[in-house]
């Protein structure tokens, strides 16, 4: 099914016309410059269409802000945006400075590195096979995300759209898992995953799940599932019944309606649940530490890799910083991809009611 959202997200064209001044925040001339944005924002940037008047941007802004208080909202918006950008990005910048500082010179870093050693980004791979750790984490995170989304979708559908006795207690039961510190699961799971099961012998050799991706995907899926179930329950519950009805009359099963209508329409929620699960698993340490021996060839995740730069008394901060910057890249890419889904207001025009 062609994905229409790509083409309707105005950000696609905004990149290309960076010509006019700050006064025209929302303007992308070829589209409808009004409020019916496909993924539309709520409020702030709406009244900015006479920006093409022939005046200096600043003058114009000043003049307009008197007659249109929306201008002030927009100014506030930009201040807020820049503030958020700065506060979220500064620690990254600082991390980069740490990475660029040569080992042993980690002192008094403010806005510039103490020395300049971009080689750290190469060294990261020389000291240990960091890419293997990254790959492991990626595979495990992907696997868990898929498992979580599928299973949680079913549960979220049941919780969000069906009425049945015991719904609330069962939801609370799911929630209860998140009450416990992960360590509470340690001893039993440690036993469980080191127990040898005859039926697993052909698959894993010694019959235990230890050191296999299954040993990571299974518990990690379970641990991060409550969040996904709750998110999906919320979003699925909000899809108007009318759309599901229409799908079912058209010939889908209940399950078919879930996958064809409800999930696509909950795209923001599904994508969010996916991103959150992926990131959580990707960076998870506690359980992966339990289920593997920390060897890259045994599916040890990225965090094992990052910690490998720690010595007995010394920490290679520059390499750790470089490694974590590299490690964040796949997630950043994922976010770039998923955000198209996260921001797609899809219910518009659905129903007349």
């Amino acid at each position: 099914m062609p994905d229409r959202n790509d083409s309707t997200d105005p950000t696609n064209d905004t990149e290309s016309n960076d010509t006019d001044g700050i006064g025209d925040g929302g303007g992308d001339p070829p589209r409808d410059p009004t409020l019916h944005r496909p993924d539309g924002g709520t409020t702030v940037l709406e009244d900015d269409r006479d920006a093409e008047l022939d005046r200096g941007p600043l003058q114009q802004w000043a003049a307009n802000s008197i007659s249109h208080p929306e201008r002030v909202y927009r100014a506030m918006f930009y201040v807020a945006a820049i503030f958020f950008l700065f506060t979220t990005l500064f620690p990254f910048y600082w991390l980069l400075m740490v990475a660029l500082t040569p080992e042993g010179q980690l002192q008094d870093i403010v806005f510039t590195p103490n020395g300049f050693n971009p080689g750290a980004f190469v060294e990261v791979f020389q000291v240990i096979p960091f890419h293997v750790y990254m790959f492991n984490s990626f595979v495990i995170a992907l696997g868990s995300t898929i498992v979580v989304l599928v299973i949680a979708s079913l549960a979220g559908y049941a919780f969000g759209r069906l009425q049945f006795p015991g719904r609330t207690p069962l939801m609370l039961l799911v929630l209860v898992i998140s009450f416990f510190p992960p360590a509470a699961f340690f001893i039993p799971l440690n036993d469980l995953f080191n127990t040898s099961f005859a039926f697993l012998r052909p698959i894993t050799g010694d019959g235990t799940l230890y050191n296999t991706p299954f040993a990571l995907v299974t518990p990690l899926s379970a641990i991060f599932m409550p969040l996904a179930i709750f998110i999906l329950t919320t979003f699925y519950g909000q899809i108007p019944d009318g759309l599901e009805d229409a799908a079912r009359v058209e010939g889908t099963t209940r399950l078919g309606a879930l996958f064809r209508v409800i999930i696509p329409l909950s795209a923001p929620g599904v994508a969010t649940a996916g991103v959150l699960t992926f990131i959580a698993v990707y960076n998870e340490f506690f359980f992966s530490f339990l289920m593997t021996d920390g060897q890259p060839e045994n599916w040890a995740p990225i965090l094992d890799g990052i910690l490998a730069y720690q010595g007995q008394y010394q920490v290679l901060y520059n390499l750790m910083a470089a490694a974590s910057i590299l490690g964040v890249i796949p997630v950043a890419i994922l976010v770039v991809i998923a955000q198209e889904k996260i921001v797609s207001g899809l219910t518009a025009g659905a129903l007349k009611e």
Binding site: P38, G242, A246, E250, G251, T252, T253, P264, L265
Partner: protein
């Protein structure tokens, strides 16, 4: 076989009974229209047929099967929803072809059918629009196309033309009739448009307050309404109702008396309250009434407001008794008002004294207590002494 049968279907919500013990049988290939006031249970009944709502009581049959517990997809129905319910994440083509793609038709066939359906609803060239880029009427047409593109046993259409202009509506009407004729599909239809109901349906089912009032061919409903409700509901403008009481030689209202032989109304006797109903077009100015086979004696009235409609003119009459008629009250139920319709070329003005007669053959009598129809047309109930009508003038 796609006979649809409802057996004592009841649907209760927490505090409302949306559908109340409705039973009906719709023949294979029949076109039945549900009409009734807003909130009377039309959509709910349809949903029960489609399987979208589970009746609290009663059973639904399609063909010979009890489908009460069958999933919607297995009922072979297609539905146009009152709230349209397009899939907002699909463009028009995908919306229309949704049901076909589910059934894994090959792409060629899907495209052919979709294009044809789009043609019927006049949406050619809009197949790649998204729902939120369309006007209200266009969306509704997509919804219609989505239903007709399939070949179901039963069509359920809940006000499919509500947002279309008169011309398109006429067009769609003929298209739907043609479809009905050619496919022989059973169609259940909801409309608020009397003309639609009258012209398209084999039978009309009138619902009120969740209960079925009458199911009968359109003209039967129009000419022989089963009760006061149906009489008042079918026909626009509505039938005039005048409260009266049976007296020795006829029916006495506050303003006039109609001669008839009360003994012929088996269930009632002198003194019982009876409501007289007469449609606006059956009220005639005495001076134009020569052609009537059987008219009542003239009634004095005064014209109040004239409402020119283009092809006809509505005249609100105040029967002579009532001088203080207020516009606020519904003229159709106020006892001393009478609505009549005349052709535009009739010479008449507002605030003019006139004399009118009622066409006796078109007078309906209803039992005021139960609302049930007693008789349609007084020609069979000759008055004791024709011609000696008296017009009360107090």
């Amino acid at each position: 076989m796609a006979r649809v049968r409802l057996e004592n279907v009841t649907k209760r919500y927490d505090d409302v009974t949306a559908v109340d013990d409705v039973s009906m049988e719709i023949e294979d290939g029949e076109f039945v229209t549900f009409v009734g006031p807003s909130g009377c249970g039309k959509s709910t009944t349809m949903e029960a047929v489609a399987g979208l709502t589970q009746p609290t009581e009663g059973r639904v049959y399609i063909g010979d099967d009890d489908v009460t517990n069958l999933a919607p997809k297995d009922r072979g129905v297609a539905m146009v929803f009152q709230n349209i319910a397009l899939f907002p994440h699909m463009d028009v083509y995908e919306n229309i072809s949704f049901g076909l793609r589910l059934r894994k038709y090959d792409d060629e066939e899907v495209r052919r059918r979709v294009e044809q359906a789009a043609d019927i609803v006049q949406l050619e060239g809009m197949l790649d629009r998204m729902p939120d880029e369309m006007s209200g009427g266009q969306r509704q047409r997509v919804a219609i196309a989505r239903a007709i593109v399939r070949n179901p046993d039963v069509f359920l259409m809940d006000e499919p033309l509500a947002n279309l202009d008169a011309k398109l509506r006429v067009h769609m009407r003929t298209e739907l009739q043609r479809l009905h004729r050619e496919l022989g599909t059973t169609i259940i239809y909801v409309t608020h448009d009397q003309a639609e109901a009258m012209t398209m349906s084999n039978r009309i089912a009138v619902l009120n307050d969740g209960r079925l009032q009458q199911i009968a061919p359109p003209l039967t409903c129009y000419n022989q309404p089963a009760n006061l409700f149906v009489a008042g509901f079918i026909g626009s403008p509505s039938m005039n109702f005048i409260e009266g009481e049976l007296v020795e030689d006829g029916l006495e209202t506050r303003n006039f008396t109609v001669e008839l032989d009360p003994t012929r109304l088996q269930s009632l006797s002198v003194g019982d309250a009876v409501t007289l109903g007469v449609r606006p077009e059956d009220v005639h100015l005495t001076r134009y009434a020569d052609s009537l086979a059987s008219a009542t004696s003239p009634i004095d009235a005064r014209t109040d407001v004239l409402e020119p409609m283009g092809d006809e003119v509505f005249i609100y009459l105040l029967l002579s008794e009532g001088a203080a008629g207020s516009m606020e009250e519904d003229p159709a139920t106020s006892p001393n008002q009478l609505l009549m319709s005349v052709t535009p070329d009739t010479e008449i003005e507002a605030e003019q004294d006139v004399e009118v007669v009622l066409d006796r053959s078109k007078i309906h009598l209803f039992d005021s207590a139960t609302g049930d129809a007693l008789v349609h047309g007084l020609t069979d109930l000759p008055s004791g002494e024709p011609g000696t009508t008296r017009s009360e003038a107090d």
